[in-house]
């Protein structure tokens, strides 16, 4: 099915059931090239499940997900990565026992560019610089602060040169100073013209970064539009704060 918009990533009628529990129900949205789309909603609304569906951790029970028109819903994570989708995790996942540089290099070696040797090392260093961690390449990851750990993970994702970036609550758990740095980093990603889907709770970030927002509640989409439109929508306010506040 061809779409009129230049959508890079297409989620069409996706439903995900876990033994009777419906986590995601008939979700549809599209992400156009170079767009930054925010996926927001109260806790338990199925946002991370949605991320897991896109990155291949889960397979949809119904519906499909496509990248440039190609169905990716049934592919395992390693194939989806090679297709060009990279993601960060809600709780940072770094590789213990490997140095910072090796952690970043991991993203470059097995992706669709398959770098190796000096080329991979060099590229990993460049990614570390991009996220502001130059000079840390041989630090053991146990000594890193939380924001630095997140930066390493981001560098690893960038090292895979992904077409679409999935950021799963990347700004969560940061103190005010770290948050500023983090938002600035994502700003830079935006300026580079990257295509990003971000699940977030930090509303300031959503407002300043996203072109469009998709709001989820109890597994379904309840609103879609610009951040201003969506954040003043009655249904959205009701979902977050309850009936009395709408």
């Amino acid at each position: 099915m061809r779409h009129k918009t230049q959508s890079v990533l297409s989620v069409q009628g996706v439903t995900k059931r876990f033994d009777g529990l419906v986590a995601v129900s008939k979700m549809s949205f599209h992400v156009a090239a170079q767009e930054m789309v925010g996926v927001i909603g109260p806790n338990g609304s199925g946002k991370t499940t949605m991320m897991n569906l896109i990155s291949g951790v889960y397979t949809p029970s119904e519906g499909g997900i496509s990248l440039h028109g190609r169905q990716i819903s049934n592919l395992p994570p390693q194939h989806i990565c090679r297709e060009g989708i990279g993601r960060t995790f809600q709780l940072v996942r770094l590789l213990p026992g490997l140095t910072v540089l090796e952690n970043v290099k991991a993203g470059a070696v097995f992706g669709h560019k398959r770098r190796w040797g000096r080329d991979a090392d060099q590229f990993a260093l460049e990614m570390l610089e991009r996220v502001g961690l130059e000079g840390q390449s041989h630090a053991p990851i146990s000594t890193l602060t939380y924001i630095d750990q997140k930066r390493v993970e981001l560098a690893r994702v960038l090292a895979g040169e992904p077409e679409v970036l999935l950021l799963d609550e990347w700004l969560a758990g940061l103190n005010p100073t770290e948050l500023e740095t983090g938002i600035q980093l994502i700003h830079d990603l935006r300026d580079e013209g990257r295509t990003v889907v971000m699940v977030e709770h930090v509303m300031d970030a959503i407002r300043s970064l996203c072109d469009r927002c998709v709001v989820m509640s109890s597994g379904t989409k309840i609103a879609e539009g610009t951040p201003e439109e969506v954040l003043s929508d009655k249904e959205v306010i009701k979902a977050y704060l309850g009936d009395d506040n709408a």
């Binding site: 876990f18 033994d19 951790v57 889960y58």
Partner: protein, 290 residues
């Protein structure tokens, strides 16, 4: 008729298998300990029954009453002294599994060593071995009694897990240790108790099985394997699943032993295991995780 013989025999055997599998379910599903020494605990129960019967004429059924508290305390000590430190030091569930596998593996040798010094050879005895008729098929009374007692204990376990507060707490821990902790359940203490009960149940299974099977100190691993296969086939933590899986294994094993060769029962269990791995690794009733 041979089919009836096989079915009855297999069903009676599965009663004891189901009991042992329930013990392992408590240890793995709740306490998260992959206990490779499970079979040795079973043999310990058998040895106790054998020893008390041959030396003091004490009926294995009475021995069960002695075995329960002793193995409960023994397993509790094992958990608190040897396994709890591993739980505390493990950084991830995967690391805990590797550590508990190695630790219980080592424990199994220690148990084998202790048992070999008590009774180095094979041990068997005759208790309630009079033949009886069930639906036209001949079997021994001991097998029927073992089946009935196993069923009784399984029923008690089932009622405890589903109708009492402590039982519900145990089931909560098997679903999620974090969530259980958040609602005020003392997860470490409950894990220890679950592990101890699991061990006690397994030892009882051993005492029961010794009334109709010849054992020796080194046969534990075969029972560990079969219990593990039943637990996985039924779905970790699933009681109903363990019962059905035990019945399947009991009947398949008896079929192979009767129609092909009694030395191939382990191979029969493996055959089932491979099918599970290929087609339904989460087990019959298990939930699929990622």
């Amino acid at each position: 008729m041979q089919i009836i013989d096989i079915l009855i025999s297999g069903l009676l055997l599965s009663g004891t298998y189901a009991l042992v599998a329930m013990g392992l379910n408590l240890q793995y599903g709740v306490a998260r300990i992959m206990n490779l020494a499970n079979g040795e605990v079973l043999v310990f129960g058998s040895l106790a029954a054998f020893w008390l019967y041959t030396s003091s004429q004490i009926s294995p059924l009475l021995t069960i009453l002695i075995v329960i508290p002793i193995s409960f305390i023994g397993n509790l000590l094992i958990y608190n002294l040897l396994l709890a430190p591993l739980v505390r030091r493990s950084k991830s569930r995967g690391a805990l599994e590797v550590d508990s596998i190695l630790a219980t593996f080592g424990m199994s040798f220690i148990l084998i060593g202790i048992m070999t010094s008590i009774e180095g050879g094979f041990f068997a005895y005759k208790y309630l071995s009079e033949p009886i008729q069930i639906l036209g098929s001949t079997t021994s009374l001991s097998r029927l009694v073992a089946f009935l007692i196993a069923t009784l204990i399984a029923l008690v376990l089932y009622l405890w897990l589903n109708k009492t507060r402590s039982g519900v707490a145990v089931r909560a821990v098997s679903v999620s240790t974090e969530a259980a902790g958040l609602v005020g359940i003392n997860v470490p203490r409950l894990s220890a108790v679950a592990f101890a009960i699991g061990g006690a149940v397994t030892a009882v299974g051993g005492a029961l099985i010794s009334t109709f099977i010849t054992l020796d100190a080194s046969i534990g691993v075969v029972f560990t394997l079969k219990a593990l296969i039943i637990v996985i086939m039924g779905g970790v933590g699933e009681i109903r699943g363990a019962i059905i899986a035990a019945i399947i294994l009991g009947i398949v094993e008896t079929t192979v032993a009767t129609l092909v060769d009694p030395g191939l029962t382990l191979a029969a269990a493996y055959f089932i295991f491979v099918l599970i791995l290929l087609f339904r690794p989460q087990g019959l009733f298990g939930r699929r995780n990622t």
